[in-house]
């Protein structure tokens, strides 16, 4: 199967869906670039990370550059969705949600409910997230927990190219507003990705590794690090399950609880802020619904409760990495507590 990067996988998903369904269109800032200008290229940018590059050639009318007016154009995407289109809007960095949260939180998320189900909002908002670029505190956030808190939104956080394509296709075909998070540090990560169209259902977690000693839940870039750690630990005789929820909301509770019933131990690794987070949510679900399966305290490996620092040395200490994941697992397994699981 062909190897493709996440960037290519997303580009392909967009093109395939635009070909399939004329109501799909793209809107965002510089997702083409050079609008109305005198440069030589027709789409000099294709987004700040080049993800939408090349689409303009095929669909010049269905990829729209806007002024820097997030509230207006994200809101326009909501309005277009309610009135029958399937917009895929790009919010360049999820950090910019501060400029348009209302249209997402109070309009898109609530519209269907507030009219008693008599409206649909088939909208996708694609956003960059994540650290690792020394992009500092306003361009490195992973704000999906904030969106996951809001009823009415679905939240997707792919960790690899295959999933990115299949989940984006599902997102576009979904009739609810879907927040689609792309990690800026993963765009070049390659993976086997079929050329044709395929979709991955929401709320189906992926078992990236199977192992009976511990369940590591991780999303986005953290999946990569968790896999690295698991592979290292495997060579030490520690068998880790790495569970990638893929969709944060809805969350695949069933797979998660099943896994905990097997392993009895939970480590959640997240790149997002820790407080009132998805990591907290996963731990809370365990404490509610898999309590008797747990043999020892749940552990969360997350950044500290601070903004994201600029200096590379600080930034790399800020985010969890494979080494710290492995370290946490070792500490958990070393902990004296007897395994409780089946006893209860």
């Amino acid at each position: 199967m062909p190897q493709k990067s996440i960037r290519e996988a997303i580009n392909e998903a967009l093109l395939l869906e635009m070909r399939r369904d004329p109501s799909v269109f793209l809107i965002g800032e510089d997702i083409v670039g050079g609008a109305g200008g005198k440069g030589e290229e027709v789409d000099p940018w294709g987004g700040v990370m080049g993800v939408t590059k090349g689409i303009y050639g095929e669909f010049p009318d269905r990829i729209i550059d806007t002024p820097i007016s997030e509230m207006a154009y994200i809101g326009a995407a909501v309005g277009a969705a309610v009135s029958g289109m399937r917009p895929v809007a790009e919010l360049m960095f999820c950090d910019f949600i501060g400029c348009c949260l209302d249209q997402v939180m109070n309009q898109a998320a609530k519209l269907r409910y507030m009219v008693g189900g008599k409206a649909e909002v088939p909208l996708v908002i694609r956003m960059q997230m994540g650290g690792g670029f020394s992009a500092a505190c306003q361009h490195s956030q992973s704000l999906y927990p904030l969106f996951a808190h809001i009823p009415g939104l679905k939240v997707v956080v792919p960790s690899n190219a295959y999933d990115a394509k299949g989940l984006l296709i599902t997102a576009i075909r979904d009739n609810d507003p879907v927040m689609f998070f792309e990690h800026k540090g993963l765009y070049d990560d390659k993976d086997e990705v079929p050329d044709g169209d395929y979709s991955i259902p929401f709320a189906e977690a992926r078992f990236a590794r199977d192992g009976s000693d511990i369940t590591i839940v991780a999303t986005g870039r953290m999946v990569k690090f968790a896999i690295e750690a698991a592979d290292q630990l495997a060579s030490e005789g520690i068998a880790c399950t790495v569970l990638d929820p893929r969709t944060v909301s809805p969350f695949d509770e069933i797979s998660f609880i099943e896994s905990l019933e097997e392993t009895g131990r939970l480590l959640v690794v997240e790149e997002a802020y820790p407080f009132c987070s998805f990591a907290s949510e996963v731990a809370a679900i365990a404490a509610q619904k898999a309590f008797y399966a747990l043999s020892q305290p749940v552990r969360l490996l997350t950044p500290p409760h601070t903004p994201i620092p600029f200096a590379p040395e600080l930034e790399s200490a800020y985010f969890p990495d494979a080494e710290r994941i492995a370290g946490s697992v070792r500490e958990m397994l070393d902990a004296a507590a007897p395994k409780r699981g089946a006893a209860a």
Binding site: R62, T66, V82, G84, R112, Y113, V115, P151, D174, D176
Partner: protein, 321 residues
Amino acid sequence: MAFKKSELQRAYRTMRVIREFEDRIHSENSLGNVPGFIHLSAGQEASAVGVCWNLNREDYISSTHRGHGHTIAKGCDVRAMMHEIFARASGLCNGKGGSMHMADIGMGMLGANGIVGAGAPLSCGAALAARLRGTDNIAVSFFGDGAYNEGAVLESLNLSKVLNLPIIFVLENNGYGEATPAEYAVAGDILKRAEAFGLVAEETDGHDFFAVEAAARRLIKRAREGKGPALLHSKLSRYYGHFEGDPATYRPKGEVDAIKKERDSLMLFRRRVEGDKLLTVAQLDEIDEAVIAEIDGYIVEAKQAPPPAVETLYRDAYGSY
């Protein structure tokens, strides 16, 4: 434009329905019969009806917290609206939305809105959708003088011009945003603001159906022809407090009474059609009576209708989850 008699009857009737709808909610509310936060548009009927007069079902409008009039003018089911006001399962939103969230997408009504200014981007989107589909449909964004200072509205003005959207922004200036006079909150010049964004802008007497209708007609025609966005500054007044319960002590004494006496939208309409002998007093009175009975019927019925079943609480957040 020359109106047919039946058209005049329909226009008057719609305005009268709005007035009666609002007046009756006001009294029901004073009796404690109406749940939630209510903002009434009595006094502003001519603007809603005059603008929507030029719209098809396939055109979209977005509205505000003060949205009953727009919703009625766009042709939504008044009975279902009243049931919604009373939070009934049979309400327009099945009792889930209430006054601030009246909407009927199928009728081209994108919704009242609890967030000031939030309708403007939504209407931009509906206008964009119309353009992408290649239809000549347009969108209208109704908002108030207070909303003219919200980023969402200001960005939308610019966006609408950049994308040459078929949209009309209808600024219904009733002189106040809550308790704050528009003269205080809206700096500079209202029409020039829109013009500086490249929009065509016109002012109209929002109490006068005929003035509004004519101005809206011109602007909407342009928009349908792909000539771009426009702003209509509709000057009018609200009769009740900002919300039900507001004694409106920030208004000078007698302000509302004077307007009621001199610039009431129904009175102006009557004066014109009676004067021009287009409709008789009797014909108009008949409409009044019919409307009074109609709205009363809805209220009687709504009061007895069952509330939504508790299970419905869990539905409709998502199409699937």
